[in-house]
Amino acid sequence: MSCNNIHYRAVVIGASAGGLAAVGAILAELKSTFCIPILLAQHISPHVESHLATHFAAKTALAVKEAEDKDPIKRGSLYIAPSNYHLLVGFDGCTALSIDPPVNYSRPSIDVLFESAADYFGNELIGIILSGANSDGAAGLKKIKQRGGLTVVQSLDSAEVKTMPQAAIEAANADHILSLKDIGHFLNTICEC
């Protein structure tokens, strides 16, 4: 299957409180033909081992994996930040993990993922901020916008917790503010094979 006409090369998603359901809803909308990689930073407790990969694998046709260090970022895959590690996109186009101090009290931090992804993918990146109770991700989304990438935020009335989308909308002047269902549809139109 070839998707030669896609401009975008990757999607990064940031989510916190209320994110599990929100990410699940987006994944459920994605067609099986959706084939650009997604990288996800979902805040979870640092003291438990993450079951996010199993949780989301049941909801999507994408290959789901907890990101390891230096995984080549492949099409059609969803990479999830492990608990207690930051996930970055390296300059070699592979994933990179770190235990640098928490950013915005968070590890993984959405800003860390988004900023590193913006560095690597430039204007070929889509950043999406979903439900959450803090302001992590706002700076990262702003950087994606500055680099010419596309910025999407979950609409406030559809977000379980509004603080994070609100902060992102204010900081980044997002291109699209969409409900979860529309985010899914939108992604499908971006990646039509």
């Binding site: 260090d69 492990p82 590690y85 300059f91 770190s98 235990i99 640098d100 860390v112 900023e115």
Partner: protein
Amino acid sequence: MNDITNEQLEIQLLLEAIYIKYGYDFREYSLAHTKRRLEYRCGIEGIKNYAEMQHKVIHDANFFEQLLLDLSINVTEMFRDPWFYKKVRELVIPHLHTYPFLKIWHAGCSAGQEVYSMGIILHEESLKERAQVYATDFNESILEKAKKGIYPMDLIRQYSANYQAANGSASFSDYYTADYDHVIMKNVLKDKVLFTPHNLATDGAFGEMHVIFCRNVLIYFTRELQNRVFNLFYDSLIPGGFLCLGSKESLRFADIADKFELVSEPEKIYRKKRGR
């Protein structure tokens, strides 16, 4: 023309300057990490670009010391990933009982929490008296902290919880004396430990180790540098010796991967095979 941005070029030049002037080699560290740390310092000092930073680092040794602290991420914890220490007790310790004399190396030990965690296990397993422990890091100021073993009181609650979760049989407070707002690790955990500088990027092997710990260090290196370090560890281990990596690190990119056997996958504990 080379396929590299001006920004990457400037960072490479900065790292080259640091290497030539101070001998610390960050040229094979993963660039995304390095850039984050440099940006962080730029933000604090109001430095506008890497050219300015290069000038400052060349002319101001104190600034370099600061940058060194930024670049060597010293984040660590007592009994970090408790399930790892549980597995060490279960799978590694029984083998160590079979040796009359033991050598253990903590490479990239940071402020020493990992060394004291293992020290407690050695003590509880009655292995301490026959052990010689080497605790190394390339950052001498953090090594000085490791040697002192003094930690802020407000971290102790988490450390105790980790110790319990790692199947600790005593009370964590048995291992330190408290003093106002900090604790001091007891001498019994220090007397067999040699704290000494060692740079994994530039220095050679340590001989005849029974166990090597190197956790959350290699994630900051490129594959090439990781590869070299794995060879260094291979050369430093006795046949049957154990290599313990961080939970998200693995030997999968090492060209000597097949010279190790996997002892426990989730905890990333490996064992050097016997024979050639």
